[in-house]
């Protein structure tokens, strides 16, 4: 789509991608109490305020846990590594992990958000999604 090869976000409401290949996961911040949520919500679960703004989350977090998925649905080629990353805003987000062998992964390691090709739409056009990669390798 663009010169950099960054196409359309696979989930535009949850992942913002820019032509330079950067991007952010999106969620909500409660203007009343400061709580953050992923994905975007209509009201705050902490205080029920509906005064929420959509914010872009940090791109670095800490790995909470992970697995290697070896059986999945046809849309996903196995094996792949799946993990939960805790971001400083106080949200935990699931994503695939790339750039490291499973045996080298440790809980608590720093991870960064990486904007990458991720599947195709119904017409076969490539989409852009995200993975997490260990901070050391970037």
């Amino acid at each position: 789509m663009s010169g950099s090869g960054v196409g359309v976000s696979f989930r535009p409401g949850e992942l913002e991608v820019r032509p330079d290949g950067t991007g952010n996961l999106l969620g909500s911040r409660c203007r009343a109490c400061g709580a953050h949520f992923f994905p975007v919500r209509e009201a705050c679960a902490g205080c029920l305020s509906q005064d929420l703004e959509t914010v872009a989350f940090s791109t670095e977090g800490i790995l909470y846990t992970y697995t290697v998925v070896r059986q999945s649905i046809p849309a996903f080629e196995v094996p792949y590594i799946l993990g939960y990353v805790d971001f400083p805003e106080g949200v935990r987000i699931m994503g695939q992990i790339a750039g490291i062998e499973p045996g080298d992964i440790t809980i608590g390691m720093p991870m960064v958000l990486s904007i990458e090709p991720f599947g195709t739409d119904d017409d076969g056009n490539p989409l852009t999604g995200y993975r997490f990669r260990p901070r050391e390798t970037n």
Binding site: A35, F37, A45, Y64, Y66, V69, I73, P102
Partner: protein, 380 residues
């Protein structure tokens, strides 16, 4: 307010039923429950039917199959807690004074609907990145191992126990005992979980007939077991990341049930819990307050959760051994509780059992701890 009594129970064999469907299986379970209650089916005043992937009005198809038309009937979907939710709704109809005789049925013909790993609904952001239910539980297992030092071998003792119980249960999907080595050598599904750690894709149905005090006086058969509590909760939205090795949702659902029944976790004699995966049994029993957090794998090692142990868990074989036909599961748990409390569990009988707990937990949605959780307490 009236008490609620389980007067009749029925359950098909759990397993693969290629020549049957969710309607036939549900009808068979219903007819067995009616025969077990020893009542005229026309006494049934309303019906609640739990199922997940069986399509519209499966409950009406079942009752049409057995000649009962015209009843108020609700089809209930709450993922793996669908059948248990049907029982709760049925019990509420009685407690509210609306009905005196109600049937709850759970049914699923899963082998014709799906194969492989169950995933969250495709609309979910986690499904979009490749979440599978085994994957999510594998991540919880990994975290539990990290926090509490549980070994892979200890975790394997849970499927070994549950399949040993299932081997003694003529209605169970799996009838073969396995060893720790069998678990560790089975196919990897989502590290560290392997095939034997996972509940199977199962067809099956179960049904229970519930009665009020008034109906019991007229139609009771002397074998009723009291449903002392039936509670349901949905998971809270995470305001900040919470532990994935402890289940506040399970505890809150259980606490409400314990309070309603006037008991505490220390009074429970045995439990059927939602062991969709081996690690899930650990998280459930600790969430229910039956075992201290971080202690259950060692208790299993000591044999405390065996039939004949201090607190038997999943004497039926559980979801791992007996099978997991989503809608059927929660109702089948109550069938097991009733048979144990009546003293009709045969070689699996837990001697002197007076109080049993059934726990289901189903569904996955982004940002909430769990979707639907149920706890039922049955008292002899």
């Amino acid at each position: 307010m009236t008490d609620v009594h389980v007067v009749g129970v029925g359950m098909t064999r759990f397993g693969k039923h290629p020549d049957s469907d969710a309607t036939d299986l549900g009808a068979a379970a219903f007819l067995e429950a009616i025969a077990d209650a020893g009542i005229d089916p026309r006494l049934v005043e309303s019906a609640y039917v739990g199922h997940v992937f069986q399509g519209m009005v499966t409950g009406q198809r079942i009752l049409a199959q057995v000649g009962l038309a015209g009843l108020p009937l609700s089809n209930v979907e709450n993922a793996c807690s669908s059948g248990a939710t049907a029982i709760r709704e049925a019990s509420l109809a009685i407690r509210a004074g609306e009905n005196d005789v109600v049937v709850a049925i759970g049914t699923e013909h899963l082998t014709s609907k799906f194969a492989g790993a169950l995933t969250p609904d495709p609309s979910d952001p986690e499904a979009a990145v490749g979440a599978t239910m085994p994957g999510v539980y594998a991540m919880r297992a990994r975290r539990y191992m990290e926090e509490f030092g549980m070994t892979r071998e200890q975790l394997a003792l849970i499927p070994v126990k549950n399949k040993s119980n299932a081997a003694q249960n003529p209605l169970a999907h799996f009838r073969k005992e396995i060893t720790v080595e069998d678990v560790l050598e089975s196919r990897a599904i989502a590290d560290p979980l392997r095939l034997h750690d996972c509940s199977p894709v199962t067809d099956g149905s179960a049904a229970v007939i519930l009665m009020s005090d008034t109906a019991m006086k007229k139609y009771g058969n002397g074998r009723a077991i009291r449903l002392a509590a039936s509670t349901l909760r949905s998971g809270s939205v995470d305001v900040e990341p919470t532990s994935m090795t402890y289940e506040p949702l399970t505890w809150l659902t259980a606490k409400e049930a314990y309070d309603k029944a006037g008991i505490g976790p220390e009074d429970v004699d045995f439990a059927e819990v939602h062991d969709c995966f081996s690690i899930a049994e650990v998280l459930r029993v600790e969430g229910l307050g039956l075992f201290e957090q971080g202690s259950y794998p060692w208790a299993v090692e000591r044999g405390e959760a065996n039939i004949g142990g201090r607190l038997p868990i999943n004497p039926s074989g559980g979801l791992i051994g007996k099978g997991h036909p989503l809608g059927g599961t929660g109702v089948a748990q109550v069938v097991e509780l009733v048979r144990q409390l009546r003293g009709e569990a045969g070689v699996r009988q837990i001697e002197g059992a007076r109080i049993g707990v059934a726990h289901c937990r189903g569904g996955k949605a982004v940002g909430i701890e769990g979707a639907a959780c149920t706890v039922q307490i049955l008292v002899r």
